[in-house]
């Protein structure tokens, strides 16, 4: 079966539109009902401190499965094949286990609720401000990616130009944020996960059936023009773009497996917060570990369809290929009306959830961490709420601009990883160093952050395409390998600069750092409680997860 790779249009029927509308009625309905009658039950789910581990684990993985991941991973699957699995088995699971076993007790014990707060207490206002500003910028850039992907769906549904689709999409998201508020956002986050799985599972099964199973897939892909074997995940040169296999393995393990993934999972407080509302430390630690089990298997319904789309001919023919459309091709050509509606609803929900999360994180940081703390202090709540509303609208408008920048990437995964390299990698370096080295000074805190980001940006510009049109190509780095090097550079530069600056400046006294630095925190604060069953022990559960992921890696190498 050859897929028509010309103009992509989804043929949605009335039933599909009804299913899509039904989804949003549900989600916005909850938001409205929750506001009209103050519902303690909704409050409980939003802010209660007593949720059991399986619910927080659920919220944890739902918050993580975003639209950018779905489109980006399927795009990478279509472009390079099995090496994409590294994003999960190397680039997520180990970091999630580290977060659960090592970092959670630290966060729980220190009482810190956000990364900017940690920066403030550990390093003082300068580092706090630098972190807040770079976080805000990152959110607007990522919101642009979500908006762009949302616009492509609107475009394939109605055929309007990308510009009009983008503006319509922006208006839709703004209304959703305003009408639904925080309550709708959290329910949407969990609901979209299930709807997406409900749509992707049959999609994957039918695509595999069409292409002739695993052997058929292998046969088809090997007959096509891939630079590196798409059915093998190691040494993953398709992912890194490195000529040398050894460097490729190092790039994946250090750049992706350590810096990017640890950087993401230890500092992404949107996720961490989902786990922190657990009823005790043991539950908080188990939530991410519980999340690793579905996380290990989700790639089978995200990456495999991308590979199948390539195998079924979605990207054959000459001209540039927009790999971001891999799943949309499959939806158009395999799904009947009905299931198509479910799939579209899931996609729209996922993009909206993603963009809403970016915009509201931007809102919170700009209103409270920047404006209230440094610019206009001591006004009443109403002032900051109003300011927040204006910030939301401005952020959405700027996101329209950044979405245009995102549109030049035929695989948004590369762009996203590059952004993580700019913002998460230095943050992680400063965070880890500050957590384990009590002598690190406040000055080193902010200079390390700035130097790390600058280092990553320089590598990005020097590469061939990490920054799209801005990259100059002085160095032969391309694709996602370039983003791994950016991340590695950010990490190393941050550490070096922090160490040097610490030599010339004054650290905070030990008394102020208790609970913020490992060596200054008494063991009792972090002691693991005795448990009744082995699966209630975070360390043992983490061990099981680790063994499973190693087995998966060995079977699918």
């Amino acid at each position: 079966m050859i897929m028509d790779s010309s103009t992509l249009r989804l043929d949605a029927g009335p039933v599909d539109y009804i299913l899509i509308a039904l989804y949003f009625v549900f989600v916005i309905g909850i938001g409205l009902v929750a506001r009209r009658q103050v519902s303690s039950s909704v409050d409980f789910f939003l802010s209660g401190r007593s949720l059991p581990a399986w619910i927080t684990g659920l919220a944890f993985i739902s918050a993580n499965l975003g639209a950018t991941e779905i489109m980006g991973m399927s795009a990478s699957g279509a472009q390079i094949g099995m090496a994409t699995f590294h994003y999960y088995w190397i680039g997520a699971i180990p970091a999630m286990l580290f977060l659960a076993v090592v970092m959670m007790p630290f966060y729980y014990g220190s009482g810190v609720r956000s990364v900017p707060e940690f920066m403030n207490r550990r390093f003082g206002p300068a580092a706090h401000l630098v972190n807040a500003i770079s976080f805000a910028i990152a959110q607007v850039l990522i919101a642009g990616i979500n908006l762009y992907l949302l616009a492509t769906i609107v475009n394939t549904l109605f055929g309007w130009s990308i510009w009009i689709s983008t503006i319509i999409a922006a208006i839709i998201v703004l209304s959703y944020i305003t009408l639904g508020g925080l309550s709708a956002a959290i329910y949407n986050e969990v609901l979209q996960f299930f709807v997406i799985v409900a749509a992707l599972l049959p999609l994957t099964l039918i695509a595999m059936h069409k292409i002739g199973g695993w052997d058929g897939l292998s046969h088809k892909l090997h007959s096509m023009n891939f630079a590196h074997d798409p059915m093998q995940s190691w040494p993953g040169q398709g992912l890194t773009g490195f000529g040398s296999a050894t460097l490729s393995v190092i790039g994946i393990v250090f750049g992706l497996g350590f810096v990017l993934s640890f950087g993401y999972w230890t500092t992404n407080f949107v996720e961490v917060q989902r786990a922190m509302v657990s009823k005790n430390m043991n539950s908080a630690r188990r939530a991410p570990i519980i999340g690793t089990f579905p996380k290990m298997f989700i790639p089978f319904i995200i990456i495999i369809p991308g590979m199948a789309a390539a195998g079924l001919g979605a990207f054959s023919g000459s001209g540039t290929h927009d790999y971001n459309n891999a799943l949309l091709f499959l939806m158009r050509d395999l799904l009947p009306n009905g299931l198509l509606g479910v799939a579209i609803a899931g996609m729209l929900a996922a993009f909206m959830a993603g963009m809403a999360a970016n915009i509201s994180a931007f809102n919170t940081v700009v209103s409270y961490d920047i404006w209230q703390t440094y610019v206009v202090k001591d006004k009443d709540d109403k002032y900051y709420l109003e300011f927040g509303r204006i910030a939301t609208v401005i952020a959405t408008i700027v996101a329209i601009g950044t979405s245009a920048f995102a549109s030049q990437y035929n695989n948004v995964m590369g762009y996203l990883q590059t952004l993580f390299g700019f913002f998460n990698a230095p943050l992680f370096a400063t965070f880890i160093l500050g957590m384990f080295w009590k002598k690190m000074t406040p000055a080193a805190g902010w200079t390390g952050l700035v130097a790390g980001t600058v280092g990553a940006v320089i590598v990005g510009i020097a590469s061939q395409d990490a920054l799209g049109g801005l990259s100059q190509g002085w160095v032969g780095l391309s694709g996602q390998g370039a983003s791994f090097v950016c991340a590695g550079a950010a990490f190393v530069v941050d550490i070096i600069v922090s160490v040097i600056v610490t030599g010339f400046t004054v650290p905070k006294p030990d008394s102020e750092l208790r609970g913020l630095v490992k060596s200054l925190t008494p063991k009792e604060d972090h002691a693991e409680e005795a448990v009744a069953h082995w699966w209630l022990s975070p360390v043992k559960l983490a061990g099981v997860s680790l063994v499973l992921v190693i087995i998966l890696n060995a079977v699918f190498h």
Partner: protein, 102 residues
């Protein structure tokens, strides 16, 4: 003289706001719609697209079964909302950082 500040706990289940119930209702409706579509509207184009497999019917069945299991789980192991504890938690959180109401 200390006043006794403990009040009798007001507890109830989360009911319809339990996220599992919401998931169950939505997936249940989706499941039923898809099953109906699969039975009534299995067109020739659908057959060609999916090698004669009735995707709507099977997916719909799967979703419905999942919805029933979810609802059963929520019913057998409900989340109990303790209103008094909730008030205390909210007050403690308010003191640490003023919330953005929505």
């Amino acid at each position: 003289m200390t006043a006794d500040t403990t009040t009798a706990p007001r507890k109830h289940t989360a009911g319809i706001f339990d996220v599992r119930n919401i998931i169950a209702v939505l997936m249940g409706i989706y499941g039923v719609v898809l099953i109906v579509m699969g039975v009534v509207n299995f067109s020739d184009t659908d057959k060609a697209k999916a090698d004669d497999i009735n995707l709507n019917l099977w997916s719909g069945l799967g979703m419905l079964i999942f919805a029933i299991l979810m609802a059963l789980w929520a019913y057998l192991r409900p989340i109990v909302v303790d209103e008094v504890q909730l008030e205390r938690d909210k007050a403690a959180a308010e003191m640490e950082r003023p919330s953005t109401s929505d």
